[in-house]
Symmetry: C2
């Protein structure tokens, strides 16, 4: 069918409706259309756009931006990308079947480990920053490859390293590193995803044989969505309820969730081992290069040594020992080691956002449609509506970049120091940033596709694939709605600590101050100030973000206390759930803004710094405007100020549009990775025509 059938005449009438001299203008436009309809493309492109499309072109240095946005380990990234550039046989085609895709992703992974001279397991253990840089680079090659790599090293490898002890590392690490032992991470079950403590798979100790017996007691206990299980995996780390026979009862004692290494396929002939049923979870919305499977266990026996026993162990005579006192503490310790996955997803999600923003903005710059009378058509990025769609999104890509760089840094620090405050900080921060950023990017991918119209719907232009692959980032490694609740819970803990005089950790430190602000009255002079200098002052912006967080926190605590009397704490939490989610998002936005302010402060090129200030202002004020109801309801912002913020957001979008091309060039994603013809640095239409087969 024809895409984007449109009645320009109606649009012309639209303009006429606001104009007294409509007929004269209609005639002018008609004659203009006659004059230009046969104009050559090159002429059109060369002509300077008209009055309505006046663009503010501020000086900005792409090389300064590129340097600022490079992230760590540029040589490592380049090494992997260069390797793939020389291997067109490893390139994922635009259309590919599930089976082909799975084989290709495995081939790509093998090539990285065995040919490109990269050792992801070593990176992961010795320098997480290097590992995340690798993951991001590999994600540009194919997101399935990045996830397949993550399953093998972060999840399967990570569980052995972090939940096991030296005997496990000695036995498995080399095989994991070299991919001789491809493995799975079998936690999720058909009935239990978020509530991991509710899983039903059992591992019952048999004292006689010194073995654990793994069982799937019900349909709901089937392990589900297990990556690497459908085709390639030889082992699985299986999470199960550890059951010990009680000497004085016919009932087993459940010691809670533990992890066990279970061989699932023969090392010799890859046959599925006895007692194990494996099914293919089948075609997915995206990431079809990852072979997710479903697993059932029927009296599968494994040696006692296969218990990953860092946090809890069973002796030869069936006695349980642990360095931690309760089931919940052991469970928290077990899962706490896996926080790295969230860091990787938050980081990778920013990469996806940058790629999509680059494609959408470059296309919106070359795409011209309609224009003022007697003048050439204008770029669609000159329309206020397109600026509103894409400029705040671009500002978020910058904002999220700095926030996730900070997160990776903190994560590295945590792995080095094992400091309790840093651990708590990284847990909440990784949960919050993962949830906030992946939700934002998922929405942004739709916006980008839609803003590129029909050409955005061609698979070769990437939005569909990126969206389908990225979509599940919102769910795995912690459902976003659940993760945000952890952030809210952490804030409430901090809040309680404050009022009990305890110390606050560094990240949440600001709450102390802004709660001071809140508990005093807002200042009526400030609520009315609406000048640019005030609104663009980062102190005002950060105060607005933090004020909102502090107020949401304070009122959440009051409401929870009130409702818990009647509903109990579970009921009260549920009654306030929307409020708590808003609180968590608000907090994460504050953290992102704070990091953005720091990053801009650190930019030494004066002109580029001015541009980055625009981008930061847009990020901050667009957020405030989007939640203006809250600010108005609390009279933090007077009506005149609300209007001024709105006007300023439109002005900032217009100003950022003037440097949008340079800002996406600053992401420095090479054409060979971006691939989308409409998103290339030049010759987009010709490349696109060439792609469909025209000379």
């Amino acid at each position: 069918m024809a895409l984007a059938v449109e009645e320009q005449s109606l649009a012309i009438r639209a303009m006429a409706a606001a104009d007294e001299i409509s007929q004269r203008r209609l005639d002018r436009i008609a004659s203009h259309l006659r004059a230009t309809s046969l104009m050559k493309d090159e002429q059109l492109a060369a002509e300077v756009c008209a009055a309505a499309a006046k663009v503010s072109k501020r000086p900005v240095s792409v090389s300064v931006l590129t340097h600022l946005m490079a992230g760590g380990y540029p040589e490592d990234r380049q090494k992997v990308l260069d390797f793939f550039l020389k291997r067109p046989d490893l390139e994922t085609p635009v259309e590919i079947t599930k089976e082909q895709h799975r084989e290709l992703a495995y081939k790509q992974l093998l090539a990285i480990v065995r040919e490109a001279g990269v050792n992801p397991m070593k990176y992961l253990m010795e320098d997480p920053g290097q590992y995340f840089a690798l993951l991001e680079a590999v994600g540009y090659i194919d997101m399935s490859l990045a996830i397949k790599l993550g399953v093998q090293f972060s999840l399967w490898g990570g569980s052995v390293v972090n939940l096991g002890t030296q005997k496990h590392r000695d036995k498995y690490l080399e095989g994991i590193s070299t991919l001789r032992y491809p493995g799975c991470f079998a936690m999720t079950e058909l009935h239990h995803g978020s509530n991991v403590q509710g899983i039903q798979t059992t591992a019952t100790f048999d004292c006689m044989s010194d073995e654990f017996i793994i069982n799937t007691p019900s349909e709901g206990a089937t392990k589900w969505w297990i990556g690497n299980a459908a085709v390639h995996g030889k082992f699985a780390t299986v999470f199960a309820q550890l059951c010990l026979p009680s000497p004085d009862s016919h009932l087993d004692t459940n010691m809670g969730v533990h992890a066990f290494i279970v061989p699932i396929r023969s090392l010799e002939d890859h046959a599925v081992l006895p007692g194990i049923e494996i099914r293919d979870c089948g075609y997915k919305v995206g990431l079809n290069g990852v072979d997710n499977g479903a697993l059932r266990f029927h009296d599968v026996r494994i040696p006692r040594d296969n218990l990953l026993n860092r946090f809890g162990d069973v002796s030869r005579d069936g006695k349980y020992t642990s360095i931690l006192p309760t089931i919940n503490k052991r469970f928290a310790a077990t899962l706490g080691e896996l926080v790295g996955g969230r860091v990787g997803l938050a980081y990778g999600s920013v990469g996806v956002l940058k790629a999509a923003a680059t494609i959408a903005i470059r296309y919106s710059l070359i795409r011209q449609q309609f224009g003022p009378p007697n003048q050439p058509e204008i770029s669609i990025l000159d329309y206020q509506s397109q600026q509103q769609k894409l400029m705040p999104l671009l500002s978020c890509a910058y904002a999220f970049h700095f926030a996730t760089e900070y997160l990776v840094e903190k994560y590295g620090e945590m792995k080095k120091t094992h400091d309790d405050e840093v651990i708590a900080d990284v847990h909440a921060l990784s949960a919050g940033l993962k949830a906030y950023i992946t939700s934002y990017t998922a929405r942004a991918l739709n916006t980008c596709r839609e803003s590129c119209g029909g050409h955005g719907y061609a698979a070769v232009n990437r939005f569909g694939g990126l969206r389908n692959d990225h979509d599940i980032f919102q769910t795995f490694e912690g459902d976003n709605t659940v993760l945000l609740q952890q952030v809210a819970a952490d804030l409430l803990k901090q809040y309680k600590a404050k009022f009990e005089g305890g110390a606050l950790s560094v990240t949440w430190d600001y709450l102390r101050n802004s709660m001071g602000t809140y508990l005093s009255q807002t200042n009526p002079v400030v609520t009315h100030r609406d000048g640019h200098a005030h609104l663009r002052d980062p102190h005002f912006q950060l105060d607005a973000f933090q004020y909102r967080t502090a107020r949401l926190l304070h009122t959440a605590a009051l409401r929870l206390r009130k409702h818990s009397k009647r509903l109990g704490s579970f009921g009260a939490w549920n009654r306030c759930l929307n409020h708590l989610l808003t609180l968590a998002e608000s907090h994460i936005e504050s953290v992102i803004l704070a990091k953005f302010i720091d990053a801009v402060d650190g930019c030494e090129d004066k002109d580029t710094k001015k541009v980055l200030n625009l981008v930061r202002d847009l990020y901050a004020l667009d957020r405030i405007w989007k939640d203006i109801g809250t600010y108005r309801n609390q009279d933090y912002v007077a009506p005149n100020k609300a209007k001024a913020i709105h006007r300023l957001v439109e002005w900032l979008s217009f100003e950022v549009r003037g440097v949008a091309g340079s800002l996406v060039d600053g992401f420095a994603i090479p054409d060979s990775l971006l691939r989308a013809p409409i998103g290339l640095q030049s010759g987009q239409y010709s490349e696109y025509s060439h792609y469909v087969g025209f000379d």
Copy 2:
């Protein structure tokens, strides 16, 4: 990888943060987990959910709902569905290659026309309501089939019928109806989608041979995205600038865009005809059963008779005649005939929304995760956050249903009466509803996928396919951003007419009254009223919607007038573009609410009517709350009232949750069409296990 890895212990700590007696409770939960972890699925399902999940179960009749929501032509729909039920060979598999999908969609289409005894072309010409009902039913089989059918009949057939004259109908109609003449609608070009008047393909009249010569003068003029072109089409309606040689000049005179029938493939051997280049647009984000192609013409000669000459004709001696005086009027008339496509998309989009809502809500009812201490887990639909995601969405599915039923009715009236006021009304209404509903549904599909977590990511559960197929609804038959501008322009025309004393058409009539309200002051007593009876009064709700529209309209007119002095009307329009888009959306929301109110008023079953009132209240108040900043800024709503609205939206979501199962049952989508295992009426988990291959 494991999906949705989660630390319940952190969530438990979250609750504890709000509770003084946290340690005692943690112990209770731990013992509870030990007790229930091995519980059988059936037991879990059978147990009544706990205190926190108290559900308000109001009486409601599914059969009344089904009757109310049945739409027209239930027997016709059933006939098609029954036909496909008996033909499993025509069912589209979950994974299918582009080539296979194209052949299957064509086979499905042939079967409808030649075996099922359905005549879409006849429906389209004689009873559009019947045609739209067919389209919706067929969309449930496969969206590609619905679009392929639309290309053949609405676009190719519709262009012949509506833009041609009797000679064209005589020559082509029978072949189109029977699919002997599969055809294309070649309007969009590589460089021009929305701005159709900017297309560059030429049709130059050659007086000597009495032929038109069709040419593609530049790369940008390549016809692009043309459905049916890559594989099946034998003809194309080609839109081109009609050029007449001037006797007194060497330049041609451009008479504007006209439509021409151009044979593109041989009727004998299907070979591409001389002078025509066809390329395959390739793999798309979705709708891969439709074969979109790109076309170039090199001196392709067609008889003069192939000009579709209803609105403009060329005589044997090269003289141009038309019943319409200007290029723009002819262009508007040409495209105006094609408004039916938008009606179909708005209507079809509601069908997609209903299907997605059914799957997401049924799954959210059976899915249980976490729960209060010492009690079974609760349905995820009992969480306030899940209610917030899905209940307003469900209310929109109801609201949009009634609005599109009304649109189809008006469209039928227009085709019968050709009344000018009805035509204007249908144009604006179809543009607005198509834009508003398809944008909403696109977002809703993401929400539904995300709200079903990992299982929502299995292709078999439909969200991915529905989203990918539906995505382009936002773009084709008029880009949503452009369509909303038409609505805004129409409102501005009405506004001008009002102040010039002209009559308003029926649909926009309310503006007269509410502008009266606006121009007087808002009443401080009313702005503070916050009782349920007042907030749930449809008069208050409609007034709030219309007040906002009237105010946006009034201020838009003032701003356009002000800016046009300095920026010209094109510049002024662009400067106010975001404002104008908000105005258009606000207006459409009012229309939807008004139709919803009428429909609920018409329900005769007392209990069901009460439930529908809840649904309507939720639709209305959720919209008001989402835009509360605007209402607060204008002091239409005082702070206490804003808070009351927020609380009421949460309460309504909770109440609607209690009848959500019945409300989706009311859509009456049979399991055989819904297909998603997690969305079936019963046995979802077992069907899902069965699907992946377990016994």
